[in-house]
Point group: C2
Chain length 222, copies 2
């Protein structure tokens, strides 16, 4: 269990032409089912039979589309990472810090609410030390964060916000926004509910936004 290297290269490519209608439907169904099963059980705990079942096909049929459990898992991971990075890319130097971060926080909380399985798969991979996707992450995430860190440092020089370590600021925001997906059950238990509601997520976004914006001096103390 220590995957790496370019994921694309490992994926079953037995096709010559474009994917058929059946292929597109089945692969999409499998990936969706896999996301949920991997999220709920982890990599080792996930059983291919159950993923196939949930996708409405047989296990050998699943293996026909994805040559191995590992490859299927990596496809799921890659999909979640890319979605995860999109809102980060939208932070630009020309933005007002308060607006950029409020938008970023709200998008990430909303993503936690609508894609809890994706977030959990991702969290699981990270907890175990990113064994399947570490190298990819280094190539893809590190340069992106370095770029955004420079933007924040620029904002700090301009006096638009307090002097804060940009990396830790991102860690805190990631942690705070994703905790509602990853540890949603804990939050629900603490709040005495069966499940978090949309209102809970909205309050979460409000609270995180308020603390981060005021706490970093992006907006004047209220």
């Amino acid at each position: 269990m220590e995957g790496q290297e370019l994921i694309r290269a490992q994926i079953s490519k037995r096709r010559q032409g474009p994917p058929t209608r059946i292929q597109r439907i089945n692969e999409a169904r499998i990936l969706e089912a896999a996301e949920e099963i991997f999220a709920l059980n982890g990599y080792s705990g996930a059983v291919l039979e159950r993923i196939a079942e949930r996708a409405g096909i047989s296990k050998p049929n699943l293996l026909y589309y994805f040559k191995s459990k590992k490859i299927l898992y990596q496809e799921v991971l890659e999909h979640t990472v890319e979605t995860w990075l999109v809102p980060l890319e939208e932070i630009e130097e020309s933005d007002e810090p308060a607006e950029a971060f409020e938008r970023y926080i709200r998008i990430k909380v909303e993503y936690s609410r609508t894609h809890p399985f994706a977030s959990k798969v991702w969290a699981n991979e990270l907890i175990h030390g990113a064994p399947h996707i570490g190298r990819y992450l280094k190539r893809r995430l590190q340069p992106l964060i370095d770029e955004k860190a420079r933007i924040i440092e620029h904002w700090i020089k301009q006096g638009k916000m307090d002097p804060i370590d940009p990396y830790h600021l991102f860690f805190i925001i990631w942690a705070a926004t994703q905790t509602y997906a990853d540890f949603g059950e804990q939050a629900a238990i603490v709040k005495g509910k069966k499940q978090l509601t949309k209102a809970d997520f909205d309050t979460a976004a409000d609270t995180i936004t308020a603390i981060v914006l005021k706490g970093t001096g992006m907006v004047g103390a209220g």
Copy 2:
């Protein structure tokens, strides 16, 4: 995999008197080894043979001390939860909010640094919906949080801090402090390091403390 009920009741109690020296040593060794293996591999991915190996004994011998994998896992969980709750209990109404929260944040970051495996085991359990420890959590954590929430609401009424949802404040602090243990590899990758250093944890504690204290109005805007 949906354990519950009083954990103590399930644990092998074949003893009449107090534990012997050998028992204490071996049980401690096993629990320490188990914590690491469960943290690194998850419940399903953890192999008893490996835990035994790391504890320096044979697998049947491990099963002699803990009757099943599930029971061993629950013992590890229970141990981590109790440690986790200690600093929370220390927050008291007579405290100054800024002092109480700064202390709480620093203790939790330090705990993340010194007990990364415990934190990961715990995170893993929560991600999967707290299947083994959900009920215990409800009985133990919920009342405690309710109590601390009342203290915070009292502080808010006294004008000692901004009106903030106390539950979400705790979620944010838990997430921010534990992210350095749970997702430490990600943080290291982003920072271009192999591993986080003590200095990184100190900066983390400083940053979280600064943002939370200022962001909640516990200290005047600097």
